[in-house]
């Protein structure tokens, strides 16, 4: 990762919040079987930062990410992406926000099996009727070491390579925020560490904003800040985390 890419600075990082949740509540089901997955969350994610969302199973961390990323609509409260209020947007408007301003890296099944790596990376831009800035595209591909894999189908790529293609796709459209949902969950520890280094580098060197959901303390240690969740509520945060401090923080939740 010896690149001088500060000149290729990506999104508008003004130092303000890239994403924000205000009084966020998400209830699944109705009546007696209702589950409050999110129970009044107020949280901010600063631009140009790598933030990890952590918590035990059922703490609501995935639901929070889905609401922040416009994949799910909250029951009440507000979600802001930069200055845009996502709450109340129509399905189509939300889709366009995801396409233009958000990048995704999921745990698995990140890529379309029918498209080769290049087509997968370019997909969000293609959907918007745009084409990738060739300099930026080459840079991202080079940094992720995918140069000789662009014509391969997902089935011809290793798990680690597939996840790197997903990261390239998330970065190439220079989104306001990249959301990563357990991105290393299906990788061996070496590939996982490599991927997390890439994500961290994209924040430090390319100025990207990354929000990652994980349950792995050593993965969270790559972030600049960890937000802890328990029972759908905010349960604290750790800045400049290490695997040990994260583990201690989790224990403090009584998990």
């Amino acid at each position: 990762m010896t690149t001088q890419s500060h000149a290729l600075h990506s999104p508008a990082s003004t130092g303000s919040a890239a994403a924000r949740a205000v009084g966020l509540v998400k209830v699944y089901g109705e009546g007696r079987t209702a589950v409050r997955a999110l129970d009044g969350i107020d949280v901010e994610f600063a631009a140009g930062q790598f933030t990890a969302i952590m918590g035990p199973s059922g703490s609501g961390k995935s639901t929070l990410m889905h609401c922040l990323a416009g994949l799910d609509t909250p029951t009440s409260g507000r979600v802001l992406l930069g200055d845009t209020d996502l709450t109340g947007l129509s399905d189509t408007a939300l889709t366009l926000v995801r396409r233009r301003r958000i990048g995704f890296v999921f745990q698995s099944f990140n890529l379309l099996p029918t498209l080769d790596a290049r087509a997968n990376i370019e997909l969000p831009l293609q959907l918007a009727g745009q084409s990738a800035d060739p300099v930026w595209f080459d840079h991202v591909v080079e940094v992720l070491g995918l140069g000789d894999r662009l014509t391969h189908r997902p089935s011809e790529l290793s798990g680690g390579q597939q996840q790197r293609v997903a990261v390239a796709r998330a970065l190439v459209s220079r989104p306001d925020v990249v959301f990563a949902d357990e991105p290393t969950g299906n990788l061996d520890s070496r590939s996982g560490a490599e991927l997390l280094s890439f994500l961290r580098a994209s924040v430090r060197e390319l100025g990207q904003t990354v929000v990652m959901v994980t349950h792995d303390p050593s993965a969270a240690a790559y972030a600049g800040r960890v937000v802890l969740l328990a029972d759908g509520r905010l349960a604290g945060q750790i800045t400049e985390p290490t695997a040990d401090s994260v583990l201690a923080g989790l224990r403090g939740l009584g998990a």
Partner: protein, 632 residues
Amino acid sequence: MLRITLAGLRRHPLRFVLTGTVIVLSVGFTAGSLVLTDSLNRAATAEGAPKADFLRFLLLMLGTVSLIVAAFVFANTFRIIVAQRTRELALARTLGATRRQVATGVLVEASAVGLAGGIAGIVLGVAAGSGLGILIADGTYELPTVVSAPTILWSLAIGLAVTVGSAVHPAVAATKVAPLAAVQAVPDGADSRGASRVRVRTGLILSAIGALLLTAGAALPAAGYGLVLVVPGAAICFLGILVLGPRIVPPLLQALGAALAAVTRPSRSTTRLATANAARNPKRAATTAAALLIGVTVVTGFVTVAESARSSIGVILDQQVPADFVVTTHSGAGVPDAAIEAIEALPEMGASVSLSRTTATVSDLGEVDVAGMDLHRYDEIARVNGDGSLNDVAAGGAAIDDATAKRHGLAVGDPVSVGGRTFHVAFVVDLRDVPFAGVIVPPQAFAELFPDVDGPAQFAVDAVEGVRIAKARAAIEAVAERLPDVSVYSNIESRAELDRQLDRAVSVVLAILALAVVIAAIGIANTLSLAVHERTREIGLLRALGVTARQTRVMLGVEAVLASVAAAILGVAVGVAFAWAAVATIPNLVFTVPWSRLALCAVAAGVLGLLASVVPARRAARLSPVVALATE
């Protein structure tokens, strides 16, 4: 295993409703045909009228097309279901189900659908058959509804044969699921494996043999015998094309998709995704297309042959003297002299000729058509070409058509005995110029030889040049009305009448074949809804990455349209080729391709494909990305 099977039926009722519909329709048609023709036959026997055996044969032949299409749809559905159930089947194998139990499970499921569909089909068929019978009888006679035991047994047997027969291959595939597959990835329907080399070779050999038979049949000089080669040739060639399907269909889909992407710039990426999806599994794409391909090929072949027959109506009609008007009698007796005199006296009428006909023993040629006609007068209506002199015929010679002459080695000057009297061949006439094959003698000689023939079978007359046909017809009809038994028709009018009859026949057959096309469209809907099911996570991913609900619908719509239009294009090409060979075997038939109708057929296939996509596409568009992504 049986319990697992039945649980499968209960859990996914929709896919069995769709496949069941296919069976109900195809079995229903066959059952209905049997009920209708049985009923017509009973009524016919009661009245001593001829039986409806030809109708029965025709209906059952057309019904077979639907049954074959249904079998393709059914086989494809089962193959997809087995592929999607890999985990379930592997789990059953892990827990101790034997291969035999797994295969039996699939077959039991197929027979359950076949039996239920067969029963429903019989009910539908009886209702449709008796309903149509009432329409045909039109209140003029009592038509009993005959539902015989053979009808019921045959219909049930056909339903079971189609379902179980087409489930055998998927059942064998199910036995090959390894227990370990339970822990492996979810099947996503992507299967880049194309056709094996053996398959390609088999397909090429079959198509080549078929094409060879087709062209040989088309080139066979003996009239009518060519069909004996053309029909099996077409069948073998078509089989070859079906075998080659996984090699032919995906490139066709890709070419169509690229063309569509080029003209629809704004949704180019959606079109690209749809194209990739349509061609992602070559075998499945080929089978889906095959169902529609069969229907379109049969429709195209039929429409093209019918169109060729239409443009050859002139050839058929010209069995009559090609005059403006032809006078005959309703009873078949000779046209009375009074009528001929009255018509010849009309100022609107010009050249005319009488034609008397019979058959007689001619030399040692056996029974031959003999006509009494003044060839000079005929020559004024339609020019006659040939060797010899018309004057010599008028002077007491005979004329003979060149085909008959050639067959028996007769030439101008040779003696020929007609009905006991010896003539000399004075003229060898081009067969295309006269309305029949055989011998022509002067009217005088004909009257002397055959006193039993009570007058000319036809009296043909042209209107004087410059007189409007409508005015001439009014005049001639005024004369005919005064004379009992005499009828007049104009060639122009009978052409229109034949046209109408042909149109009616074409519409009826097309309506029946439409059933096969509709069944194929249901097949596309079925394949697509199964594809949506297995691609749930993929659709969730696309929605997350910014594909709108509308784009999702468009994507699936384009996928269905590509599949149906590819099948239609292939079907039109193959059908036209088959029709060409069939037409070539029938002498005097002019091969004519109704391009505009065929283009309409391709458009209709596209529209059907689009309709087939509506329900699965709506379901796909409604998927919530979060739920879809979490699907196993």
